[in-house]
Symmetry: D2
Subunit: 266 residues, 4 copies
């Protein structure tokens, strides 16, 4: 960039093409949502910063702690999760940690990372329809439209209960007791669980359900349930990519090399 | 998965193909690095969890606060950063937040995300060569090998100093004073800055330099300087993707549609 | 992989977990869809191989030529396309060509890469409803559901007609004349164009429309319209990444460095 | 985009920021490397178009056929290849075909996709050092620097020879006989193979070796060996993603769900 080039920065439409309320910059100045960065560093927690970046205000300490609990709870579910396996395989292909993270975060799609988003939407619809009393009817409608599987309930591995759920809901209850959140969404979530439990096999609330409660109680838009999950799972993705890097391996496939896939003549 | 399928899980080599020390799971049990998840949720901070996942131990509160400062400081540098522009364009192409994050984190490569990693390596080499006194000689050697540009120093935009650096180094100094970190690496970093300042234009330590100091002082392996930067920048990436989603736009290119690129006949 | 490890490959369920009809392998043997690879190399064209891999049979030369035309036509639309800008920026961030391609192909989502897929679906619905005669009614229904914009028609830049369309449709007409394809879908496509042309501004069929005709006439499932577009655009993505690599540049943002984005206080 | 916005396209520096020799566009006009797109569609083959985009000239039919053979030969190596497994897992996570391709192409890094690039570089160095006669000495030097593994030779699965190699080399020999390529690089490649065969276990040239010969003979820059491999493998990636989509599955992990990874207490 020469001075001559600089002098040509004359077209405001170009600057306006990239308009943001998140960050303001001048030489020597960086402000996020109006706060100078030096006032944030060492002062706000990382979860508070995440909230500030996504929403524009700094949350209370209680709100931030609840968000933090959700961030801590979802970091990892082991190498059988496709995102984690992707990261571990990627690193053995000779790419960087950023690339392993890129390929892996990318797969947190509607099925792998979308349950929370879908459940927050359902919570919102039930809330708008009257809350807990609307649960049975709304659930019938939901399943008629989307199928019997309700996102956020049941777990193929932790069949008798997800160990993360009671702890997360306990923290939600504490914050309700402190008057910081309304408790409307955790009540809806429990009413759904009770409704589902009427069936032969109970389908207890899982991690996606419990964190969806947190996101709804804190007022996050539903797509951010997925977005924040991506931030959280990125930690596990990075940790596994790094562990795999240290373990070594080249072109690691999904199965030991002694196995070949099954060919089926169609 | 039928019960019949389950009964076939007989080959230990398959399980061993995916071996990890990060997470242990049984039905109803999830442990990270030996800690039951329910003991971590609501107890450790998100930065402590990141540390635990990457390294296996829980850091002290002081160490975690310093890591947290680095995480807060690097979240974003605005839409002129290619990672942020990538995320904003991606979302207008009709992909999910996870995909916008995937494409964007992916580009945090050697140039965009690698300065910290390279600098931690340089710090380690200087430290092994005797520390501050070895700076002049090691710097000559480094530049002879890699070119005159020293990663972590100078900024094309914040020419008179990066506003994040003094605040971060102040936190480092505090922790040195408390005896939690050695201060060897911040001393090296400042000696490099002094050495570079002898030239016509000073090249003050930038954000990559200051966070590299933090990673080195806390004992992170150099590739994790990039990995943790990816975690931090993912926040800005998500925030910008989300803001763009709310702004709307379809197939947003880098320039306003009134512009066309320059064709040059070769 | 030791012999000991090999001996443990005893669980058929593991092999069956990865079942495919695409490729069969034994030491010294690779067959695709039943054809030994050495019989394909130098014998089938690349478009024939793409067809074979996706569908299981080898297309006629005429069919392959039409697919080839679609592959050639969509390779690139210049640096204002977000996929191309992403690739070019990525390469300046210090990642490999594979990573630049990964980030860029990834953004070929519902808006950037999905028009063909949506249009093939619309063609199929119209065909099932009776073909050309059903166009007016189906178009009203489509727009009532999805909005006035019909994918594959109109172009914000080539307002008076996309130069690729007449050539592609000419090749379609040729193959219809040769009796290799039915011509039902090109007739539907033209009927849609005529219907839309009744409005003040005509909205001529664009590249997505013309290639959707090709995919429909050749019997590709609608999602493969997007998939094959990804294969084609990957060529432009690679070419631009490679050109950018040769041009140099570090951390290239969307605008010249003399520009800063507009900050708007919300 | 309003007319008012359009009127502001006044800053040439903005257009110049995105300069390319690949594509020229005006309303109604698209030219690639100087050729109107309508002259290319239906006239050049897809491999010729790939060459034109990457290099600026249209190759002869013989050259294009040889490139085509390389493109056909490398499309797939089955679900045990991490790229293919990544694509198949991705699609079960609820992302689009473009995203599955993005995550998968992304992992074609130094180890998974880089052998050809490294070998073309070695060929070029040997050629510059005198060709075949320099092979023994250069090979010793290469292995001293990079380790005993020579990229492009040996295969852990096809131990007695890769079935693709003889067919590809036969096509190379044909084109040498026709005087279209020099044959210098295939001679070097065979000399390397002979040199390596002196050891206890022969390490025959594999697919990466044979395609590296093709890229070198055709004069492609070494990084394009990887780039073109990415184009080729994208076909297999797409085919497997699509097959998996049709097979169904949700959150497919690397092993059957009856398996859990091995936890190792460190």
């Amino acid at each position: 960039m020469t001075e001559a080039t600089k002098a040509t920065a004359t077209d405001k439409a170009v600057s306006d093409w990239w308009t943001t309320s998140i960050i303001r910059m001048e030489p020597g100045v960086i402000k996020f949502r109006g706060h100078p960065i030096q006032d944030l560093i060492g002062t706000v927690s990382f979860p508070q910063m995440i909230w500030l970046m996504l929403r524009g205000d700094v949350p209370s300490e209680g709100q931030a702690k609840l968000l933090e609990a959700a961030l801590v709870a979802s970091v990892d579910h082991g190498p059988q999760a496709p995102s984690i396996a992707t990261a571990r395989m990627a690193i053995t292909c000779g790419v960087g940690l950023n690339n392993a993270m890129g390929s892996a975060v990318n797969v947190l799609g509607d099925v792998h990372g979308g349950a929370g988003e879908q459940l927050v939407e359902l919570f919102e619809r039930i809330d708008a329809a009257g809350g807990v009393s609307a649960v049975p009817e709304m659930l019938v409608a939901f399943r008629a439209e989307k199928g019997k599987f309700v996102p956020g309930y049941g777990h193929r591995f932790h069949k008798d209960g997800d160990p993360r759920t009671p702890r997360l809901l306990g923290l939600v209850d504490d914050l309700v007791a402190q008057g910081e959140i309304s408790g409307r969404f955790v009540a809806i979530a429990r009413a759904i669980e009770a409704e589902l439990a009427g069936r032969t096999h109970g389908v207890p609330m899982n991690i996606d359900g419990a964190t969806a409660v947190i996101f709804a109680e804190l007022g996050f838009a539903s797509p951010l349930a997925r977005g924040i999950f991506c931030l959280s799972r990125s930690v596990g993705i990075l940790a596994h990519a790094w562990e795999q890097k240290q373990q070594g391996g080249r072109n690691k496939g999904p199965m030991p090399p002694s196995y070949l896939w099954t060919y089926r003549d169609d």
